[in-house]
């Protein structure tokens, strides 16, 4: 199977861009002092989804950044760390970096690797931070300080300025001011006071003058330290970081070096004039870089104009279009019917026009329908690569199989099913399928089997992800639930226990890897599926594997249908269930006392379900030998449905009956026929089930 990866890349780019935009929106709206936990979760999920997609496509640089971002977000989300303005700034910076990387992949624009490293360091240092430590000054302040570093490289004087206890804002403001004088580094004493170490040419009086804007000069303790600047700087920052538990001393220095080269021309130029001895290198190199960036941006703009070859349109607009076209088709059919009665000689030109209209309308309808319908293959074909990569990463052997890739599904649903499926497949490989040695020990083949299947069933689309791995661990889930404060009982039903894994932040994995185990996946899965009106069901047996089955309602799935007639009513049978249809011989129909009739088809006795009885219709025939029986098969059971007549076979658009009416037993949906009338679609699976129940009951009674 050859796959055109480009289309999937495009989808990922679009999605990632949306997610980034959403993340930014949430970040900008978040209340730092009392963040909404839902918002934090949403931001986290966005980051997680981007990471998931990026790793699927092997975009490791995106994965790297999102991984660090996610780590930090996770700690904040779990309440291990308080959200601060710096975090938000850092997240926004990370978002910009991700956007840049994304554009780098998509439009091949310049990606500033320094900025990438920069942000990663920032995030990493933030997430390494001890929970109790006060947050370091905001990144902007760091920039300002470091920009000047080189210009003060030659100064020999060094002051240690001990501040009294101050508010965070004052400290930031002060550090910004002092940074104008020379090289500045900050450390925090155990009693939460800040200490600045300033290497400068200015005198003590100047420092006091600046500080006196904010605090009483008497509270200041300024001592002069005489030391070579580089030593001071590194010693003090090392100390600072050790005290804070950063452990990222070296990278930070590298990072500073990057910034010192001048990433922001304006600032550097301004400072250059103010500074006693401007560093020529800094000013010279600075303007060059922004220029390149501007060029880059212009290129981006141009490229963006060129790549508008696809547009994303709201589903409701497409729906409206489809409905309108449906109306048009019906009207056209009416006109055609009326013109049939006309004399072809007299109305030749009218008839020609009508036949042209017919053709155009049909083309139009096909074109409109094709907007929404896509084979599941579109989703499934994303996975083999991901499965392979994951399996080799985790040292597992996995055989990947798909069924029903041709099942057509509404595009809206296809797009939304991708994320949940990605999570499920990942979970299956990471947690479900065991390593070859474990499998061998359990007496299974070393290669695990992961299967993805899609099928239309009883008015729903069932998409299943199943593995033959270890299955869910009931004890561990219960233990984890207790630990999370979820009220559980030891004798809960298995199905209820499995549902627990859908709670946010629920993961029983011992190790958080970059594959999964953060407990975000199932949360997203459940949420996405529920929002589509679907249901997630888990079947699991310890040692034998897990099957996660997603059942989605057919909103606009196309169905190959067989139209049948009972009395004067027309019903649609989904063709997938139909095995054959035949007119039985009287000898083949047998009555079983109290259990209705059976019919013998090639040696098998199948229960006969008279549709007229099920739906309370007055039929034309009551003897199966006069009408037609349609052999249906569902869940491996066969039955014969007795109808009056077969009308034809056609593709129908499934309309939801429940959107304006309640659920009708035995009916899975409705469709609109060519004449504008409504025809109901028979829920074959339910019909077979209920007939079986009827039979079972009659056996017992």
């Amino acid at each position: 199977m050859t796959i055109d990866m480009n289309q999937f890349f495009q989808v990922f780019f679009d999605e990632a861009e949306e997610l980034l935009a959403e993340m930014e929106k949430l970040l900008l709206a978040v209340d730092v002092s009392s963040p909404d936990i839902e918002d934090l979760n949403a931001i986290f999920r966005a980051a997680h989804s981007i990471k998931g997609g990026a790793s699927t496509f092997g975009l490791t640089d995106l994965t790297d950044v999102t991984h660090v971002l996610e780590n930090l977000l996770d700690r904040i989300r779990k309440g291990e760390m308080a959200l601060t303005a710096e975090h938000v700034d850092a997240f926004l910076a990370a978002k910009d970096i991700l956007k840049m990387q994304l554009d780098g992949h998509r439009l091949h624009t310049h990606v500033d690797q320094e900025a990438v490293a920069d942000v990663r360091m920032m995030l990493q240092s933030l997430s390494q931070e001890m929970p109790i430590a006060p947050p370091p000054p905001p990144p902007e302040a760091v920039m300002v300080k470091e920009d000047d570093t080189d210009k003060f490289a030659h100064v020999k004087l060094c002051f240690r300025i001990e501040l009294p206890q101050l508010g965070e804002r004052d400290v930031t403001a002060l550090s910004g001011e002092l940074a104008l004088l020379g090289r500045l580094s900050t450390e925090v004493l155990s009693d939460k006071r800040h200490v600045f170490t300033l290497a400068t040419d200015e005198t003590v009086d100047d420092i006091i003058a600046i500080c006196s804007f904010i605090l009483n000069p008497d509270d200041l303790k300024i001592t002069e330290v005489d030391m070579p600047v580089s030593v001071v700087a590194s010693a003090s920052s090392a100390k600072t970081e050790e005290e804070l538990g950063y452990g990222f001393f070296e990278p930070l220095e590298d990072l500073r070096a990057f910034i010192a080269q001048g990433s922001d021309s304006e600032q550097v130029e301004n400072k250059a004039q103010a500074a006693p001895t401007p560093e020529p290198v800094a000013t010279a190199s600075a303007p060059a870089q922004p220029d390149r960036r501007h060029n880059g941006r212009r290129e981006t703009d141009r490229n963006q104009v060129g790549q508008e070859s696809s547009i994303r349109v709201g589903i409701e607009k497409v729906d409206q279009l489809i409905n309108l076209v449906g109306e048009l088709v019906i009207t056209q059919a009416m006109i055609e019917q009326r013109t049939l009665a006309l004399d072809p000689m007299q109305h030749e030109r009218l008839l020609n026009s009508v036949s042209q209209l017919t053709r155009s309308t049909r083309d139009l309808q096909e074109a409109v329908m094709s907007i929404r319908m896509m084979p599941m293959d579109y989703v499934f074909s994303r996975f083999p690569r991901m499965v392979r990569d994951l399996a080799s990463k985790l040292g597992k052997k996995v055989e990947f199989v798909t069924h029903g890739a041709a099942t057509e599904l509404d595009k809206g649903l296809i797009e939304r099913i991708v994320d949940p499926l990605t999570h499920l497949v990942r979970n299956s490989i990471d947690h479900g399928i065991e390593t070859p040695s474990v499998r061998a020990a359990a007496g299974k083949s070393e290669t695990g089997r992961l299967s993805l299947s899609a099928a239309h069933q009883g008015g729903n689309i069932i998409i299943e992800v199943s593995d033959d791995g270890g299955g869910l661990n009931r004890e561990r889930i219960l233990a984890k639930a207790k630990q999370n404060g979820v009220p559980v009982g030891d004798n809960m039903a298995d199905a209820d226990v499995w549902q627990l894994i859908f709670a946010p932040g629920f993961s029983t994995a011992e190790v958080v890897t970059d594959v999964s185990g953060r407990g975000v996946g199932m949360d997203v899965v459940k949420r996405n599926i529920t929002s589509m009106g679907g249901v997630v069901d888990i079947r699991s047996a310890k040692g034998f594997g897990t099957t996660i089955s997603i059942s989605l309602p057919l909103t606009l799935a196309i169905l190959d249908g067989m139209s049948i007639k009972v009395g004067d009513e027309v019903y649609i049978l989904p063709l997938g269930y139909v095995v054959e249809s035949l007119q039985p011989e009287p000898a083949d129909v047998k009555e079983i006392t109290g259990q209705g009739r059976v019919i013998k088809v090639r040696g098998d006795y199948l229960p006969l379900i008279p549709l007229y009885q099920m739906f309370g219709i007055t039929p034309i025939f009551t003897d199966p030998c006069e009408g037609i029986v349609v052999i249906l098969e569902s869940d491996g059971r066969k039955a014969a449905l007795f109808v009056d007549d077969l009308v034809g076979q056609q593709q129908v658009v499934v309309k939801n009956l429940e959107s304006n009416y309640c659920k009708v037993a035995g009916i899975s949906g409705a469709t609109i026929l060519g004449d504008g009338g409504v025809s109901l679609i028979v829920d074959v699976a339910a019909l077979l089930r209920s007939s079986r129940q009827l039979n079972d009951e009659s056996i017992f009674s």
Partner: protein, 168 residues
């Protein structure tokens, strides 16, 4: 005069925006004239062939295709046991839009749209066929008397069986 009264009394769900009265669509069922809030009415159309829904209550005539939407049709004459329903070219279906769900009701005929202010409204007496929960009141205008139905409540009531029991 009417302005001051209209904000109080039984008119709870209609906020004070309509100080000059409220518009009702008047229609006939049997011998009586009824009124429903005009804002719930999406359109009025003639009765056309419906597709019967199996095992539905008798008053649910079936479903029709309304420009691509499947809409259930309820015959109010059967629901309220108002004589033998006849379907001819004068039979009218009022398509209602009730909190996003579209439902059609069959009535004998539609008369007009009338504006009733609070002073025309009388509280509803207990009536046999229809649970008085579903009544807003009686509207009297000149010689006419309208039974005002809270169509929202009536259509979402469990005994209509139109809406699935609200799943918790």
């Amino acid at each position: 005069m009417s302005q001051t009264i209209s904000s109080g009394a039984s008119n709870e769900d209609k906020s004070g925006s309509e100080s000059s009265g409220h518009e009702y669509l008047a229609f006939k069922l049997g011998k009586e004239e009824y009124g429903i809030d005009i804002l719930k009415v999406q359109e009025i159309r003639g009765y056309e062939a419906v597709t019967r829904v199996a095992n539905a209550p008798e008053f649910v005539k079936g479903v029709i295709n309304l420009r691509g939407i499947i809409v259930p049709i309820v015959d109010m004459r059967i629901k309220f046991k108002l004589g033998e329903p006849t379907y001819d070219q004068f039979t009218v279906v009022i398509i209602l839009n009730i909190s996003g769900r579209v439902v059609g009701i069959v009535v004998d005929s539609v008369s007009d749209v009338i504006t009733l202010s609070q002073e025309h409204l009388k509280p509803a007496p207990d009536m046999g066929a229809m649970n008085s929960n579903y009544l807003i009141g009686l509207g009297t205008l000149d010689e006419r008397m309208l039974i005002l139905i809270d169509i929202d409540k009536l259509m979402s009531s469990p005994d209509m069986g139109l809406i699935e029991k609200v799943a918790a």
